[in-house]
């Protein structure tokens, strides 16, 4: 009996060692995986990410791949849940993924980064904007961090003297919204305006904003800051118009997508300002080509998530080429090589010219946009 047990243990150990020593990759393709919520309420974000990346992958493969090596690409759904996101990551790992683009949302990205850290896999999140997403040195991001956006918004409002009294309506149950709100408030103290009203809502109460708007109206604010997503912003604009609130509305990249909402009266969005790195109506050739392809393939206008992940794939390409990395490298060696190159490359992407710092943060200029006659135009 004892003998049998020892035999089986020895066999098991031999098998385990055997499995470990199999080389990770030898077939000459880079395997890139993506994770995002593809079902449920946040599906728009995840679909943007996986589809945006798909377009970039197709373009690169058509043009001959990364230094001659083709990209294999696969994505998994995480249903906006950290646990499912880790499951998705493990599934992709079983597929021999070498580089991860994801997760799409902050909480999921943080949970997955703990795993990529353990495996030392290079992770580039297109849109995980919370500060902790890039806590580890193997994780970089394409989008602005939340603190960055809040600060940039406050500085922009202050510099351009857009308002003296500011009201904020934000989603206190959302990581994105509360993250921006926090740094906006902190930076506002250094700027020449005061925050007269600060009103929160939660995911459970995001359909009626009349009381928040009434408070803004009573306080006589000149500008209402909306660090929220466009679905709620659309409701706010509709209600504000009915209540006769006369203030400028100012938001961040979450407002991108508002003009494409079903049954939304675009006139309401007239004069809304937003700081965003990407708008689908931009005139440059790159954006036009991307938007054209995206619309053809998926029938909708790409949002900022799609642009971020499109940039993410090209960033990976640039970093691999810079490092001279090859597909047969182990996941960990590949990560080290790309990590070093990330600090050297300058990326001309859809979302601006981006460089990275060692803490994983991108440096790029936010563009201020204002909606005029139903289209985004650059604010001066």
């Amino acid at each position: 009996m004892m003998m049998k047990k020892m035999m089986s243990a020895a066999l098991a150990a031999a098998l385990a060692v055997g499995m470990l020593s199999v080389p990770a990759m030898a077939d000459g393709t880079f395997k890139i995986g993506a994770i995002g919520p593809l079902t449920g309420g946040a599906a728009n974000y995840g679909l943007g990410v996986v589809n945006g990346a798909q377009i970039a992958v197709d373009e690169i493969n058509e043009a001959g791949g990364i230094a001659g090596a083709q990209i294999e690409y696969k994505y998994e759904d995480d249903e906006l849940d950290s646990e499912k996101s880790v499951n998705a990551y493990n599934t992709l790992k079983d597929w021999d993924m070498q580089i991860l683009v994801g997760s799409t949302t902050s909480g999921c990205s943080i949970a997955v980064s703990e795993k990529t850290k353990a495996d030392n896999m290079f992770q580039l999140t297109p849109s995980g904007s919370a500060q902790d997403c890039t806590k580890y040195d193997n994780v970089f991001r394409v989008c602005f961090s939340d603190p960055n956006q809040g600060k940039a918004s406050a500085v922009y409002i202050g510099d351009h003297q857009l308002a003296e009294k500011v009201g904020i309506i934000y989603d206190s149950s959302g990581v994105y919204s509360s993250g921006i709100e926090m740094t906006f408030e902190a930076e506002a103290a250094n700027q020449g305006f005061e925050i007269a009203v600060k009103e929160a809502f939660t995911a459970d109460s995001n359909t009626d904003f009349s009381s928040q708007l009434q408070k803004c109206k009573d306080a006589g604010v000149d500008l209402i800051f909306l660090p929220i997503y466009y679905t709620q912003a659309g409701t706010i604009l509709t209600q504000a118009a009915m209540m006769g609130v006369e203030a400028t509305f100012f938001g961040c990249d979450g407002l991108d997508g508002m003009l494409d909402m079903d049954n939304f009266n675009k006139e309401l969005a007239e004069g809304v300002m937003l700081l965003t790195p990407f708008v689908a109506d931009a005139e440059d050739e790159k954006t036009q080509s991307f938007v054209g392809k995206y619309q053809e393939a998926y029938g909708v206008t790409p949002n900022q998530f799609a642009a971020d992940s499109y940039d993410a794939i090209y960033t990976i390409k640039a970093a691999i080429e810079d490092a001279g990395a090859t597909p047969d490298m182990s996941v960990s060696d590949l990560c080290e090589a790309i990590k070093a190159s990330m600090l050297k490359i300058e990326m001309e992407g859809l979302t601006g010219t981006i460089t990275w710092t060692a803490d994983g943060e991108p440096t790029k200029d936010p563009k201020a946009m204002v909606i005029r006659d139903g289209v985004y135009t650059a604010a001066e």
Binding site: A13, N90, T91, D94, A111, K135, S172, S178, M182
Partner: protein, 358 residues
């Protein structure tokens, strides 16, 4: 057929069977892991499976054995998760992993149990629908409350606010522990399959022993007829409280296990809301109300199915619901049950008398 073997009753033998089943599965899975036969996808699912199995055991105690409908059990799990993660985050540097996790689990269970007791005082005087409504509200309240908690730490000590991070007035070197809606990030990774299994085993043994004791019989008599139970002198409210609190403690354990398996703990509606509570209820109902073993099996199967169906992409949602409906029908239809007993379970369990009455 109830031919007694030795002095064991049918119930004890059935309970022992459950424990042996769990131990065998654990041994088999551990061996497969050691042999490298388990891919990382399944490997990553082992701890979540333990979490859900423990939740199923916990809720089965309230729904199946006490006979009260609780649809806010995710709330207790949420409390356990946050209490234990809070403790671990506080002592992450000052304690070793093992004692820290042990204490964290105990704290998770204790805090959840305390809330279970507190909620139980008014709630367990209610019956039926009213109890369900209040527990539902409780789960939602907990989730929303935790979303406005801001706790930070700096050299001057702990700071607490429900206003926002700014209101804490942290020094520059300060660190956020609970950051409102952003929850707790960076909880140490302490949960392992072994710990999960031990917790599951403890929960199962506690519940089975309770069921099989004087208290358990009192609890079941309340389920079967509250008025009759009261009339023979059983203190109804006391025993209800007992079962409810134990159930909350076990849910707290599950929460602690969950929190230490992921680096980000956020009280999202999808994770700790109404839908999750209903999912736990599905485990219990599908497993056969009152059957601890059935609840565990249902939890394992229903956690695995959506993951194993990943290759179907988004169709997995559709297939999952169909499987759920089919299982529900097959499991409860007398004809199909008889067929299964005759053709499948009968072969393995000849002589012990199939059926898992609670």
């Amino acid at each position: 057929m109830k031919n007694s073997r030795g002095t064991m009753t049918k119930v004890s033998r059935d309970n022992l069977g459950t424990i042996i089943m769990l131990a065998v599965v654990f041994a088999a899975v551990s061996a497969a892991r050691a042999a490298g036969l388990v891919n990382s996808h399944i490997d990553g699912l082992l701890v979540p499976i333990c979490v859900y199995a423990i939740m199923a055991v916990s809720l089965n105690l309230v729904v199946g054995i006490l006979g009260e409908l609780s649809i806010g059990h995710a709330g207790f799990m949420c409390i356990g998760a946050f209490a234990s993660a809070f403790f671990s985050k506080l002592t992450a540097e000052s304690m070793g992993a093992f004692p820290r996790f042990l204490i964290a689990i105990l704290i998770g269970g204790a805090v959840a149990g305390f809330f279970g007791f507190l909620i139980g005082i008014p709630v367990l005087r209610l019956n039926g629908d009213y109890l369900a409504i209040v527990t539902l509200a409780f789960g939602e309240i907990i989730k929303n409350l935790i979303n406005v908690f801001y706790v930070g730490r700096d050299s001057r000590g702990l700071h607490f606010s429900i206003e926002g991070q700014m209101a804490l007035g942290l020094e520059p070197d300060g660190e956020m522990i609970i950051n409102g809606a952003q929850g707790i990030t960076g909880t140490p990774f302490d949960s392992t399959f072994t710990v999960g299994f031990i917790l599951l085993m403890i929960s199962v043994i506690v519940v089975l022993n309770l069921t099989n004791s004087r208290e358990g019989r009192a609890i079941m008599s309340i389920r079967d007829n509250r008025i009759a139970a009261g009339s023979v002198g059983i203190p109804v409210t006391r025993y209800k409280m007992l079962a409810f609190t134990i159930s909350a403690v076990i849910a707290g354990f599950a929460g602690a296990l969950y929190a230490h398996n992921l680096a980000s703990l956020i009280a999202t509606p999808a994770r700790f809301g109404y839908n999750m509570s209903i999912l736990f209820l599905v485990f219990v109902v599908l497993g056969g109300i009152g059957s601890t073993r059935g609840a565990i099996i249902a939890a394992v199967v229903l956690t695995l199915i959506p993951e194993l169906l990943r290759f179907l992409s988004n169709y997995r949602m559709l297939i999952y619901s169909i499987i759920l409906i089919v299982m529900m029908i097959v499991n409860w239809n007398p004809t199909s049950r008889a067929w299964i007993r005759r053709h499948i379970t009968g072969r393995f369990r000849r002589g012990t008398g199939a059926g898992e009455e609670g």
